[in-house]
Amino acid sequence: QGASLSLSSTPHDASQPVEVTADSLTVDQASRTAVFSGSARVGQGAMRLGADQIQVTYSDTASEISKVSATGSVVFTNGAENAEADRANYDVAKGLLIMQGNVLLLQGGNAFSADTLELDVLNNSANLTGNVKTVLVPK
């Protein structure tokens, strides 16, 4: 069974500077990947993505990103909602952030746990699937 919900957060300004920090960064051109490893953090405005490792695969023209994958205690926030999982994949073309493994989504006073969280970026909605449990945090 699954649960879908729409998400709220403050409008995000995508032209703000983006900061990425990590222990190291390795760019391998043959495989067109850039791997930030060791407490990797990407931030822009209120949006934050953190993980042990964030790997970016870019298109052969190297001007567009085709995939972003984060592994190891992944945390994501947009300032209003927070989500945690073991790993996350972001498919840029489809605008889908898929978080998997011990997923926890915190929204306002509610917490949801599930196997998978699919954040549909275009339609501003989220789908939780697999062992979905709602944990109502007492006020």
């Binding site: 920090t21 051109q29 970016v56 870019y58 190297a62 001007s63 605008g95």
Partner: protein, 210 residues
């Protein structure tokens, strides 16, 4: 409702924009200059007068030039060169300058306080306020860099800072090497920034920067 709908559509824009910053990284990879094999048989032209000099005789305004197999023209010049022997295995350089005009029409200029060319070990280094500028607006700075001309790799001596039109990177150390396990036709360059990396990307600059 619309405010919420816009929020997430910006994530798409964000990710689309944030990561062309890797074009910035690719530009830095030009530091690998040429493919490993090209460097190995790159022509390191050492003028004859350098070769038959008594030890310690200083040559003023030396310059070495050549073109690598990849067609990148390079010129190495210095205020002075000090070979260690008539048939030198090492040449120390004062205020060395390096200029490279890549076959793609990009110009790189590098300067440093001192440098050395180790002919036998196919290596070179630059020391002291090492600066590298590219004609498309990138500036890299560090205290030193070691080149292994045989393998086409280079390692910085300590911190590096690279700034460019669309962003900047600082790291405790930088190295670039040729991953010869991948097939030669593809660009084998691997860049490694380590000991703490901080990268800033300016999406708003992205549009204007070419």
């Amino acid at each position: 409702m619309t405010a919420r709908r816009d929020t997430y559509s910006t994530v798409v824009k964000w990710t689309k924009r944030i990561l062309p910053l890797f074009a910035l990284l690719l530009l830095i990879s030009i530091f690998t200059l040429t493919k490993g094999d090209a460097l190995r048989n790159g022509t390191l032209f050492v003028p004859p007068e350098v070769l038959n000099l008594a030890t310690g005789q200083k040559i003023t305004n030396p310059h070495f030039s050549g073109v690598t197999d990849a067609g990148d023209a390079y010129l190495v010049a210095a205020d002075a060169a000090l070979p260690d022997a008539p048939k030198p295995s090492r040449i120390d350089l004062e205020n060395p300058r390096l200029e490279i005009n890549t076959h793609k029409g990009l110009t790189l200029n590098s300067t440093a306080q001192s440098g050395a060319l180790n002919i036998k070990s196919h290596s070179a280094n630059l020391r002291g306020d090492v600066i590298l500028e590219t004609s498309n607006g990138y500036l890299a700075q560090g205290q030193g860099i070691e080149f292994n001309l045989k393998t086409g790799s280079a390692t910085s001596a300590g911190k590096v800072q690279v700034e460019g039109p669309i962003g900047s990177i600082t790291a405790g150390q930088f190295s670039v090497f040729q991953n010869t396990s991948t097939d030669a036709r593809r660009n084998q360059g691997v860049l490694k920034f380590s000991q703490g990396v901080r990268l800033i990307y300016l999406p708003s600059e992205r549009k204007s920067a070419k």
